[in-house]
Symmetry: C2
Subunit: 75 residues, 2 copies
């Protein structure tokens, strides 16, 4: 799978899950404990996020990390 | 989930999937296109691997990336 696409698919899935839970980007970044502009970059597919941060996000969404890799759709 | 634990769980799962497929660590690193010592560090839970490299590994294992986050067991 193309490297750029992976980041876009991850970011789109994260945005989807965040919105389902009714979080603003700012509130969610605060919840995760990461910088808002960093989280925006992840959602836009600009960041090559690390395993530890993936798992922090999953914890904040109260889902297993695998959920962030399911239902990947291009948007 | 504790940060160190996440890396250990990911590494243990990767090692499990690699062995199921009968790859040596060296052959698998070559297949993925990453350095053998880096891959060893990932398996030992010492590396905070990135999204792009997670997906390279999933491709080499011919599984969706979510598979690397399933069946996490401590060993």
């Amino acid at each position: 799978m193309d490297k750029g696409k992976v980041k876009l698919l991850f970011g789109a899935r994260l945005r989807e899950l965040r919105k389902i839970r009714g979080y603003s980007q700012e509130d969610f970044a605060h919840q995760v404990g990461l910088d808002r502009s960093y989280m925006g970059g992840v959602e836009r597919g600009e960041r090559n996020i690390s395993l530890e941060n993936i798992c922090l996000i999953a914890d904040a969404l109260q889902v297993p990390p695998s959920t962030l890799f399911e239902g990947w759709t291009e948007s």
